[in-house]
Amino acid sequence: MTGAKSEPPLARAIVAGDRRALARAISAVENGDPTALPIVRALYPRTGRARVVGLTGPLGVGKSSLVNALVQLVRAEGRTVGVVAVDPSSPFSGGSVLGDRIRLERDAADAGIYFRSMASRGESGGIAATTREVVRLLDAAGFDVVLVETVGSGQVDVAIREVASTSVVVVVPHLGDEVQTLKAGLFEIADVFCVNKADLPGADLARKDLVELVSLGAHRDGWAPPIVLTSALASTGLPELWAAIEKHEAFLDASGRRAELERRRLVHEVVGLVRDRVAADLGERLERDPALRRLLDRVQARAIDPRGAAERLYAGRRRVARRR
């Protein structure tokens, strides 16, 4: 067990509610700074309490405005809320403009809100590689609810489901016909659908397409995603959206799905971490190790196929691992 005394000072400060400590720890995690590891490790036992809600959907559908509205609703209930808003990094310069904060309306003195902008830093899937760990820091810092806003997502950007217990897929009228909703990917991960900008014409058609989709069985596990019409501009449907999110959270608890989903996410995470480690390790060895270089030479000479080479490498690693 991690006793309070062995916690790094920054971890203790985060638990005590120190905002600057939290901000610095988030940066350390984002930057892959080695100082982040003991903090994340010390705080892990304190995680798993926050409700993590993801908002995803194409660019310009109003995710940031909805996040702002949800922040107000959560605060009105007396609960605290952390926000992680992800925007894309430039594939050219690596830079980014993180503009989600612009929608946030808040009392600057309200300590019950923490808003952090994140750049995707080359990661595809809609969030950054370190978003999960940043969410955990907010969780450990004691925020009751953590809202994660993805980058404007495309059809395959479904990484939010690895982080959020409830994923809200946000669309707007006239995004496409009903066949678009049948396609694999984004629409499959929705626990709640939100048709935002419902003050615009075409909202009802968008709703009908989604009703059709849900009736065809959008989810396979006893939860039919509700469809909520909102207008962040006209301020309609927002309490209903929050209620739908809460209902899904209650369903996760009542059905036992929460533990099951968490287990699946953790398997993904641990396997992913091992994969990253092995890949980095192998990549390095392929450059240095003469035996491996010869193996690659043979692949290039068409004497052995890439899969065959991979099998040999994997078998070799297992032998080495057993010897250790």
Partner: protein, 138 residues
């Protein structure tokens, strides 16, 4: 795929304190800093000094850029600097842009604004100065 950079990107907050609605300059600068590889948190228009300082702390920025064209700089900038001190974030350098008379610019620099860019400043100069200020702060 861009590779992970050895040095983390500079994080900079760009905000417009006060009530004027002229954000073109701030946007042009945000874009230039982005193109220079920085992560720009664009807080936008009508920010109070309290909001700006709150954002700077939460976002853990290396640098703050304030744009103002309303003439209220002598009221707002010292307040930002003062609040940064209060929040133990006084190490974060602040630069400014906009219409700021020379006399005021001298006074603001004395108070701790690290660089002031008037009309006609090249983007290159802003990027170079920003990078220098941010790295100096680290």
């Amino acid at each position: 795929m861009p590779r992970a950079t050895a040095t983390p990107p500079i994080r900079v907050l760009i905000a417009k304190p006060g009530l004027d609605g002229h954000d073109r300059g701030a946007k042009v600068v945000a874009r230039a800093l982005r193109d220079a590889g920085m992560e720009v948190i664009y807080a936008g228009l009508r920010q109070t000094p309290e909001e700006i300082v709150r954002a700077a702390v939460e976002e853990d920025v290396d640098l703050i850029g304030l744009s103002i064209l309303s003439g209220a700089h002598m009221a707002l900038f010292p307040r930002v600097l003062q609040l940064l001190q209060k929040e133990h974030a006084g190490r974060i350098p602040v630069f400014a842009g906009g219409i700021i008379p020379d006399e005021d610019a001298r006074r603001l620099k004395k108070l701790g604004v690290r660089a002031i860019f008037g009309p006609g400043t090249t983007l290159e100069e802003i990027v170079t100065t920003a990078r220098h200020l941010a790295r100096g702060a680290a």
